[in-house]
């Protein structure tokens, strides 16, 4: 079975202390420490526009956060379920287009349109997931690729021109006077205004994914990933957990799609493109998808690379190199490599100290 071997995430207590009352102490403080850390990161992150006044870098951070949500959706599915999807652009693009169509063509309020778009993306995610989660390995990869590209073709079909604008895409225009979360349309394109939204959603999604992974549901999915047959024989329903995981992942991609459309104020068939699909998977992989943080880091690096290398046209070259190097040598991605480096450094330092 396909796996990228992650360190075990089983949420077990260390050596039990033997006294019944003693277990409560360490667990509470550990959980509290974790929660406090998350809140701290969130609050610090919210203040980013204060520290970073350069709109260029702030733009990169914002775009990175949005792509990070997409990458994390893909990474979650790949590492927890062993399902690598080259077609998450389906939900990303579908949500983006739904948002564009409902605001521009139908005049809906942006917030309503955004929620509707996420709903549509998730619903399609459920349908697609139900059909394909049982297909193993390469078959799943090719299926997701085909579905993603089918949606690309739909977005450029002449017959759907009134809806999608085909190759021209849809410039998003809010109905007169509409605002989104208190900001009018021009402000949404401004990175410092958009950042709090992107950051909040990102942190929220990271927390959700982490909690899901650590839950009993998360362990069930991993059991299915390790050996589907054995899990089934153990009495677990192997279909529903995978479907639910897929739906969560599709919802994440849809949210990312809506955020993307909100910021760019423009959707074009590129959101469905093969390049986008491939690059988002690579960003997640290179970042290190065994963790929740890895794909986000991969996404930020990718967006940075896109801005810096875009003019040279060499982005795809370096993305390809990063992919090959990661799979061949850095199997747990950048985060994994950093973690190992850190462990190594600590070991060296400790050994030195005791000498």
């Amino acid at each position: 079975m396909t796996t990228f071997s992650p360190p075990t995430e089983a949420d077990q207590d260390p050596v039990p202390s033997g006294r019944p009352g003693a277990r409560r102490g360490p667990r509470v403080s550990r959980r509290a420490w974790r929660a406090a850390a998350v809140v701290a990161v969130f609050v610090i992150g919210l203040g980013l526009p204060v520290v970073v006044s350069n709109p260029y870098y702030l733009g990169i951070a914002t775009d990175g956060a949005v792509l990070g949500i997409l990458a994390l959706s893909i990474g979650f599915l790949a590492s927890r379920c062993g399902l690598i999807s080259l077609g998450h652009t389906t939900f990303f693009g579908l949500a983006a287009y739904t948002f564009a169509i409902s605001t521009t063509n139908w005049g809906w309020a942006p917030l309503v349109a955004a929620l509707f778009a996420v709903l549509v993306g998730s619903a399609v995610g459920a349908l697609v997931g139900a059909a394909i989660v049982r297909t193993p390995g390469i078959g799943f990869l090719v299926l997701t690729l085909a579905i993603g590209q089918a949606f690309y073709q739909l977005s450029v079909q002449t017959a759907l021109r009134p809806l999608t604008g085909t190759y021209d895409g849809i410039p998003i225009i809010y109905a007169d006077g509409q605002t989104m979360l208190g900001r009018d349309q021009a402000d949404m394109g401004d990175a410092s205004q958009f950042w709090p939204i992107a950051w909040t959603v990102l942190i929220g999604f990271v927390v959700v994914v982490t909690l899901v992974t650590r839950s009993r549901f998360g362990r069930t999915i991993e059991a299915v990933r390790e050996n589907e047959e054995r899990a089934r024989f153990s009495g677990l329903n192997t279909f529903t957990p995978r479907l639910l995981a897929f739906m969560l992942s599709a919802t994440g991609a849809s949210v990312a799609g809506v955020l993307f459309a909100l910021k760019a104020n423009y959707v074009s068939p590129n959101v469905f493109s093969f390049v986008t699909a491939g690059d988002s998977v690579i960003a997640a992989l290179v970042g290190g998808w065994t963790t929740a943080v890895g794909p986000v880091i991969g996404a930020v690096l990718y967006v940075f690379g896109q801005s810096e290398l875009g003019a040279t046209g060499n982005l795809q070259l370096f993305t390809g190199i990063a992919l090959v190097v990661t799979i061949a040598f850095l199997r747990t991605g950048i985060v994994g490599a950093l973690t190992s480096l850190w462990s190594l450094a600590r070991r060296v330092l400790l050994t030195r100290r005791t000498r």
Binding site: I147, L317, V324
Partner: protein, 284 residues
Amino acid sequence: MSIANLLNGVAFGALLLILSSGLALIYGLRGVINFAHGALYMLGAYVAYQSVGALGFWGALVVAPLVVAVAGVALELGVFRPLEHRSHVEVGLVTFGLAMIIERVIVLIWGEDTLPVEGPGGLAGTVSVFGSGYPAYRLFIIATAAVMAVGLFVWLQRSRTGLHIRATSQDPEMAEILGVNVSRLSLLVMAVGGALAGVAGALAAPYFSVQPSMGQAILIPVLIVVVVGGVGSVGGAMTAALVLGIGQTLGNVWAPSVTVLLPYVLVIGVLLWRPTGIAGKRVV
């Protein structure tokens, strides 16, 4: 005019047939989908462009497959063999990354422009087919594909090497136990697969013109054809290629919007119904 339309479909299907046979061979033997196959095809086209000036079209048609065969061997030695013990998906992703690298390097060498390649002078005109004129060059592509298909089939069915390839595709471990030199066979298959991609690229150069996006553009149709045809089934891939080429081109006449979705509907349907593909014999 429908004869001309049909021939358009057959011509495209023929090109796809040559390209997908190579991919199917590799997929069958190694169990890995070589996502770099489109890049190999592109390499063949650019090498053909480069050699046409000095060697003429026929010379280019010989040089391109040779160069890409070497590239295939390099792929085998540099990627497939060292990563033999990794999962098929991982190796597939490596080829995906390699495709991006190869395609960009090609553009860095030859530039971003679309490069025109003239077909051979003798095939420049039209041939009268059932009353309407049809470009001779496209007929040539069809003829070449037919010859290749027959040749490949005879080789796989009748020769000893062909027997070994078929055996290894079905069960690599058993084949090795029975004395087949799987490593040498892999080298051969990669070379042949590469050569086929090179021929397809060289043939496509006057047909489609040589441009940076050609590798990516052909990859998905080829993948679909190979997957639908069946894991490692060369015959299946060939049939699927022709069906796709003709079906799409004819469908374009009647219902263009629906036809465009045909290949995707096909591959989704086939994979969900029969994950091993229509003629496949092994689960992935």
